[in-house]
């Protein structure tokens, strides 16, 4: 008695799923970091063309496993996959939008943009080796700023995130001890400090803790008026976070030599590049089973890269520079059949 009912329900479900698939709809899953801008783009794209993009922000790890399982048309990840891993699954990979990460502090009397950091100093703070704000190394690069004799409290993300991956990737680039002791990842074993959930969790702990330092995405810092610090780039200049500085990093990063765009932009060369920038990567099949759907997805990304800049800017994301867009389009023509 029970079995036929289950079978009927299952059949109805399958029919429903097939019915949904036959409609012109693009499905994607992955990174939570790009969700706001992807949602905006898909709503605009829907209005312009009538094609729906259904994106589930389940996290980069989820995005990677979903595309490998073939349940979505594209996956999105904050951490690029190595060409070998891509080849194994027959996947193509390209960047889609730029974000950046800022150190934020809560020190009485220090306002946004006043404090300067170098990469090695940031790493030593997060390693727990620099423990007070009046440390001589901090004072040496911050002449004129009155640094109090306060203990430093490190605040990091508790949830696994692309923000953490890019932040720890940067610290690994500029400090060998960080690289060997902690390394880089969406979650790491933090030598010190406490963890807040999401940008809002880190922001809340930094605001509530005098003498704290955390790292937060650019858009969130600007929208919440937090006290960020400038960071020294690889050319030795202290760079304030700004859209041109992020685009400079994307432009000077050596994309041409990176197979499948497998490149993390942190500590990018160039005199005007902001050092802690990040991209989110889209993963798609090179030889998809359903070519129509992949073509529709590519059409959407072409539209987003060429016409999505105003929406991205409004949400404090940064669009890819035109030269990089051309490289991506050439890559599509070459790799995705």
């Amino acid at each position: 008695m029970f079995k036929p009912f289950v079978a009927a329900a299952a059949a109805a479900f399958v029919v429903g799923a097939v019915g949904a698939a036959s409609a012109a709809e693009i499905t994607g899953a992955g990174s939570t970091f790009v969700n706001p801008v992807l949602a905006q783009w898909s709503s605009d794209y829907d209005k312009a063309t009538g094609d729906h993009v259904n994106y589930q922000s389940i996290g980069s790890g989820g995005g990677i496993s979903q595309i490998k399982a073939g349940t979505v048309d594209f996956g999105a990840t904050d951490k690029p996959l190595a060409p070998a891993e891509l080849a194994q699954s027959g996947l193509a990979q390209f960047p889609i939008v730029i974000g950046s990460i800022l150190p934020v502090v809560n020190i009485p009397g220090v306002s946004a943009g006043e404090l300067k950091f170098t990469g090695p100093i940031l790493a030593d703070i997060f390693l727990g080796k620099i423990t007070r704000w009046d440390d001589p190394r901090l004072a040496a690069i911050n002449r004129g700023v009155k640094l109090p004799n306060l203990p430093i409290t490190v605040v990091h993300r508790s949830d696994g995130s692309g923000t953490t991956f890019n932040w720890t990737h940067y610290l690994s680039q500029v400090n060998p001890e960080w690289k060997s002791k902690v390394g880089e990842g969406t979650a790491v074993q933090w030598p010190t400090g406490l963890g807040g959930k999401g940008n809002e969790g880190v922001a809340a702990f930094v605001k509530q803790t005098i003498g704290s330092i955390g790292y937060i995405e650019y858009a969130y810092v600007i929208q919440n008026h937090m006290a960020w610090g400038a960071v020294q780039n690889s050319a030795g200049r202290f760079i304030a976070p700004s859209v041109p500085a992020f685009q400079a990093a994307a432009a000077t990063a050596d994309w041409a030599r990176a197979t499948d765009f497998d490149l993390v932009m942190t500590d990018a060369p160039g005199a005007n590049s902001y050092p802690i920038t990040a991209t989110t990567f889209v993963l798609m099949y090179k030889h998809p089973k359903d070519q129509a759907r992949t073509a529709a997805a590519l059409k959407f990304f072409r539209w987003a890269l060429e016409h999505g800049q105003p929406e991205a800017a409004r949400l404090d994301y940064v669009s890819l520079p035109p030269a990089l867009v051309r490289q991506i389009e050439a890559y599509w023509a070459r790799e995705i059949k």
Binding site: M1, F2, T32, I58, G59, S60, G61, G62, I64, K79, T153, S158, D159, G160, S161, G162, V182, G183, E184, G185, T186, A187, V188, Q189, W190, G193, L194, G195, G196, K197, G201, A204, F205, Q208, T209, S212
Partner: protein
């Protein structure tokens, strides 16, 4: 006449249909029950299979070490396991007397017009989603606690004293103690409601006899009512404990999320549920994934043990 004629007819026609209906009903009930058991064992089996690589790789060290390093792929769950037990225990310490007081007041002392509003208020507390408790904890309670409890205490405590050791920590309210308080508020309504039901289940004769013998309200509650509900009360406590063990979102917001063993009451820590909620979505390596699922199995076992005890305690209610 008509009734006597139709009566045998209806039973004759009704008998087979009722039989088929009964059979269908029985099968449906049976399927529901077995489906639930199948789902339960399915959960255990899939957790065991998913967590097996972690158990195999780390063995007992998974339960006895605090290294939790997703980069090198070395995982020890002692920090979250201890954090889970400690926060649940502290929350119980606060919630139990409160729940007891609330229920005794409602049953024994409250004027009639106050009973319903208080009971409804407690039910409303139970209805608040846990993420709201978390947000409230993070943005309201933690700063308040830091400014009005943690800072004054740290100023009063002499360095090296027991108080100093207990209250050492960054004064921002993100620690296992505040997480436990939030948990206490969350489990309070459940426990108060069950206590109230238990007190109401005491027969009026017993209560009136106690008062008739000249017992004060304190004596009546302490020496007559409490022994009467006895073990069932332990069951109620265990239900609260079960909820405290598994609570996720509210704790994640406020516990500070460090995988080390908490060194003081005001140190940040983590629980099994908060660790899984934090890291599961972005766990890209297989071992990280396995370690999180293994933690899930540990939590399942702890909760299962607690609820098992609760069931046993509640089961003895029938003997009264």
């Amino acid at each position: 006449m008509t009734t006597s004629a139709s009566l045998p007819l209806s039973t004759a026609a009704g008998q087979p249909t009722r039989g088929a209906g009964d059979q269908l009903f029985r099968m449906l009930c049976f399927s529901a029950a077995t489906l639930l058991m199948a789902a339960l064992s399915g959960v255990v089996i899939s957790l065991a299979i998913g967590g097996w690589p972690a158990f195999k790789a780390f063995g007992w060290r998974f339960f006895t070490t605090t290294t939790w390093n997703p980069v090198t792929g070395v995982f020890g769950g002692l920090g979250p396991i201890v954090g889970t037990l400690v926060t649940a225990a502290i929350s119980l310490l606060f919630a139990l007397p409160m729940a007891f007081g609330v229920s005794v007041f409602l049953v024994e002392f409250a004027p009639r017009f106050m009973r319903q509003p208080i009971a409804t208020g407690i039910q409303l507390l139970a209805g608040i989603p846990s993420v709201v408790y978390g947000m409230w904890g993070l943005f309201v309670f933690a700063p308040f606690f830091a400014a009005h409890v943690q800072l004054p205490l740290s100023e009063v405590a002499t360095p090296g004293s027991l108080l100093d050791k207990l209250t050492a920590g960054v004064p921002n309210g993100a620690n296992i103690f505040t997480a436990s308080i939030i948990l206490a508020i969350m489990i309070l309504p459940y426990m108060a409601a069950v206590f109230r039901e238990l007190f109401l289940s005491v027969s009026p004769q017993l209560r009136e006899s106690a008062y008739g013998l000249g017992a004060t309200p304190l004596e009546a509650v302490w020496k007559v009512l409490l022994p009467y509900i006895g073990r069932s009360a332990v069951g109620a406590v265990m239900l609260g404990l079960g909820r405290a063990l598994g609570e996720t979102m509210a704790v994640t917001f406020i516990i500070g999320n460090s995988h080390d063993l908490p060194k003081s009451l005001f140190d940040s820590g983590s629980t099994i549920a908060s660790t899984i909620a934090n890291e599961f979505t972005e766990a890209t390596s297989d071992m990280h994934y396995a370690a999180l699922i293994a933690l899930g199995l540990v939590l399942f076992m702890i909760t299962f043990a607690v609820l098992g005890i609760a069931r046993a305690m509640l089961g003895t209610l029938k003997t009264y």
